[in-house]
Amino acid sequence: MHTKSLTELAAALNSGTVSSVELTQAFLERITALDPKFNSFITTTPEIALEQAKAADAARASGRAGDYTGLPIAHKDLFCTEGVRTSCGSKMLDNFESPYDATVVAKFKAAGAVMLGKTNMDEFAMGSSNESSFYGACRNPWDTQRVPGGSSGGSAAAVAARLTPAATGSDTGGSIRQPAALCGITGIKPTYGRVSRYGMVAYASSLDQGGPMAQTAEDCALMLNVMAGFDKMDSTSAQRDAEDYRAKLNDSIAGLRIGIPKEYLSDDLDPQIAERVQAAIRELETLGASVKEISLPRTRMSIPAYYIIAPAEASSNLSRFDGVRYGHRCDNPKDLMDLYTRTRQEGFGAEVKRRIMVGTYALCAGYYDAYYNKAQQIRRLIQQDFLAAFNEVDVILGPTTPHPAFKLGEKSNDPVSMYMEDIFTLSLNLAGLPGMSVPCGTVSGLPVGLQLIGNYFDEAKLLNVAHQFQQVTDWHKHAPTGI
């Protein structure tokens, strides 16, 4: 049962093969038995899950089941969940039981989902390896000596290890796509504004976007149907009708124009990854797509631009963590300065502190123009590159990451080298475009991902292309040995 995709489980529930309670119990037992190896969950919520499962079975029995009724979900631990710890992977919020639900969480609740728990993540979503979590590193189920990627490492690992068929993630610079690639699963970062940010603890407000992580594109489409939509509580929420993201999955992709940026498949890229990506492209060509080389000249600039904009916004977003109204507070503060500085010193880990400091510096008078303003200008140039490309092609393809999963500890002492891992993913967040990663093979036994980039609000097309790819390949069905 646990290897079934979300779509397959929905069918099993509908046909009465299994009840939601049985399904839920099975996953909860798997988590208890196996997760100590992976550390993909920070909090499990068995009582809530079983209550929700019972209610879902009752709804199904009286003919009131919707598309997601009774299906499991795990939420990345930066989505606020009422009455349940919402830690953001940080000591700062270790004691924080959110008084309210994030819009995404409320939507899943209303759709009849069964919440298994909250997944591990890099602290405050800052990282690409899940090593900065206060709750310890999460391990890649494909090789537990290696990272699952980040910041949604817990969600990716949990799906890869089949501890849950579906998990929510968030993506600011690649945090859904990169761990999806490193763990051999499918994930999509929607267009900025497509999914509500209300209740999703902010890292970089103009870049953050929540999205689905699951085994297949079809599963992600089902999840996105629940997650997407206008939210009046979020001023940056797109005022745009939701659509049925499964409606076009089976459309033919004959005539699809695919662009491959020459900057992505440069000579620097690991040839094995390049080979897997080329193979994937050939599959798509057999389905009728045409391929051409395009250029995204400012790709490399996305790294410095991102590593100014994101920390700058984060440095401001994280100022609210001061020990006054919630969260960690240092013992016996002797005065106000002591309250702030010691609470924040104790509550935040090293990477968070680094980014807060970089961001603070970049916004200081005298540096604003050279750093923050300059980065926002480069951001517009990057957007222009994409818009020009989309005049000629429908989707852009490339590798999701330059390497497969690296070893735990390998990059944690060298932040800059960690940042370079994001080279392919960052630019979409800067431009606000949607992007997906689908499994497209392995390199030395470790999964690698194919990244698909679409134009604004073209999630349905991306899911369609990915789904067609997954009809003629079976990488997405591969699970780590022993799972």
Partner: protein, 483 residues
């Protein structure tokens, strides 16, 4: 050395919206602590701002009333600093692109008229309050006020005396209360003034170093604070010292200013556009629709009072400044048909009582119609002016119409000349010595002696004799004795 004073004012005006600028919590004054501070106001992780339409409308109304350019694409920025009454660790405000651009107000003092230019006015959110009562050595924070919409009105340093500064503040008060965008209650903090004060030798072009006097909430204190600060600065400079640019607090009990323990020393606010809010765009038709709803502004109303009611510049100015009072005044005029008499009473007896009981005219126990009725009885000679004051006292404490009180207390004026003559004869008969004095005095000195006899006649009639009639008859009878 002749010195010139240079003053600029920054006035914070609390807008009288129902809800906060970025959340749906109430802004009503006087609630129990933290009962009007929702998740957004407390800056819970994941919460986001949504902008109040009414705050925008009120800001634009103000801009139109000061003849300013309206910012058609206003941008909210974050002003970053740490303070316990600032939950997010930043204040959302406007910097480069405020909602209201350059405008002006014209003021008149005994020294003449001046146009005070306003640099701009912008929207921002208010902070909470620190209560300094001792909670075992701690302070208590109430965040009910956090998020209340403010407009900050920044003048150019155009004022040249403390009187002008107070008059400017009065003018702003008159405008915002007339527009109905602020309740004008300075004691409750609805309007707070910061004064920037500097001095320079007369004729010098450069400005001297300025100090900022913070949070002054009465017009009288504005004048006094500026006067003491100017004196302090002049003394300091003449003693060879230099004015330090700093923030100072005015102590009304000691009538002096003192340096504030700097809470923002070496602060860099690291302003940047708030990524959770989008630019606020308005078009001409929106602005014109608001212009059409503007009430008659104080200056226009003052002019109308002068031309329609023949009031003096001074009286018209006083009566038109505060809209509730101006409305009350016009209602009294309507029910009494005597603008001059109404002006005397509203500025006289009524104001005296309001001040003594410290209530606003909106809570006045005597309605405009009641007062108008009373004034009619003066005009038709039913009662004298002095008796009217007695009637007014009864109205104030017990209510009732003028007619009801006059009837109940038997206060009708005595005009019957026969009755008056009788009383005069009795008085003269009893006042032998005074009559002799009168007869002995030079004719041109006799006028002054009538007063004694008047007093006696009024006493004998319980104040009800018509003074005009008494005077005439008294003089007649007394003069008759002199022949």
């Amino acid at each position: 050395m002749e010195w010139e004073t240079v003053i600029g004012l920054e006035i914070h005006v609390q807008l009288s919206t129902q809800t906060k600028i970025f959340s749906g919590a109430s802004t009503a004054f006087g609630a129990e602590p933290n009962t009007q501070a929702c998740a957004v106001d407390l800056a819970l992780p994941g919460t986001l701002p949504v902008f109040n339409e009414n705050a925008q409308r009120m800001a634009i109304m103000f801009g139109l009333a000061i003849n300013a350019e309206i910012g058609k694409r206003a941008v909210f920025e974050r002003k970053n600093y740490f303070y316990p009454d600032l939950p997010k660790g930043y204040q959302t405000t406007q910097l480069e692109r405020p909602v209201v651009g350059e405008g002006y107000v014209d003021i008149t003092t005994e020294d003449g008229s001046r146009r005070v230019r306003i640099h701009h006015a912008h929207l921002e959110e208010d902070a909470g309050k620190s209560l300094h009562e001792d909670f075992h050595g701690m302070s208590g924070i109430d965040l009910n006020r956090a998020g209340t919409p403010l407009i900050e009105i920044v003048s150019e340093p155009d004022m040249r005396s403390s009187k002008e500064a107070a008059e400017y503040a009065r003018k702003i008060h008159a405008i915002v209360t007339t527009l109905g965008i602020c309740d004008g209650n300075m004691a409750e903090g609805s309007m707070r003034c910061d004064c920037n004060v500097s001095v320079r030798p007369k004729g010098q072009q450069e400005y001297g170093t300025r100090t900022e006097l913070k949070n002054i909430n009465s017009f009288r204190f504005i004048e006094r604070a500026i006067d003491t600060e100017v004196a302090r600065q002049i003394d300091l400079i003449e003693d060879g010292g230099k004015v330090v640019q700093e923030t100072r607090l005015y102590d009304p009990d000691r009538n002096e200013t003192r340096s504030m323990r700097s809470k923002e020393d070496a602060n860099d606010y690291r302003y940047f556009p708030c990524p959770d809010l989008l630019p606020v765009v308005v078009d001409d038709s929106y602005i014109e629709a608001i212009r059409a709803t503007l009430p008659e502004l104080p200056d226009a109303r003052r002019e109308r009072f002068i031309s329609d009611y023949n009031l003096s510049e001074y009286d018209a100015g006083v009566l038109s400044a505060y809209r509730p009072q101006a409305d009350y005044y016009e209602a009294v005029v309507a029910s009494s048909s005597d603008a001059k008499l109404a002006a005397n009473w509203v500025m006289g007896e009524l104001a005296k009582n309001l001040n003594a009981t410290d209530i606003d005219i909106r809570e006045c126990p005597v309605s405009a119609e009641q007062l108008g009725g009373l004034l009619q009885r003066i005009k038709d000679n039913t009662i004298s002016g002095n008796i009217a004051k007695k009637v007014f006292e009864h109205m104030w404490s017990d209510g009732g119409s003028a007619d009801e009180i006059i009837e109940a207390k038997g206060l009708k004026q005595v005009t019957d000349t026969g009755a008056i003559e009788k009383v005069i004869d009795e008085v003269i008969a009893k006042a032998g010595p005074q009559v002799e004095q009168y007869k002995a005095a030079e004719p041109d000195k006799r006028g002054k002696m009538i007063g004694f006899f008047m007093g006696q006649v009024m006493k004998a009639t319980g104040g009800k004799a018509n003074p005009g009639a008494v005077t005439g008859l008294l003089k007649q009878k007394l003069d008759a004795l002199c022949d």
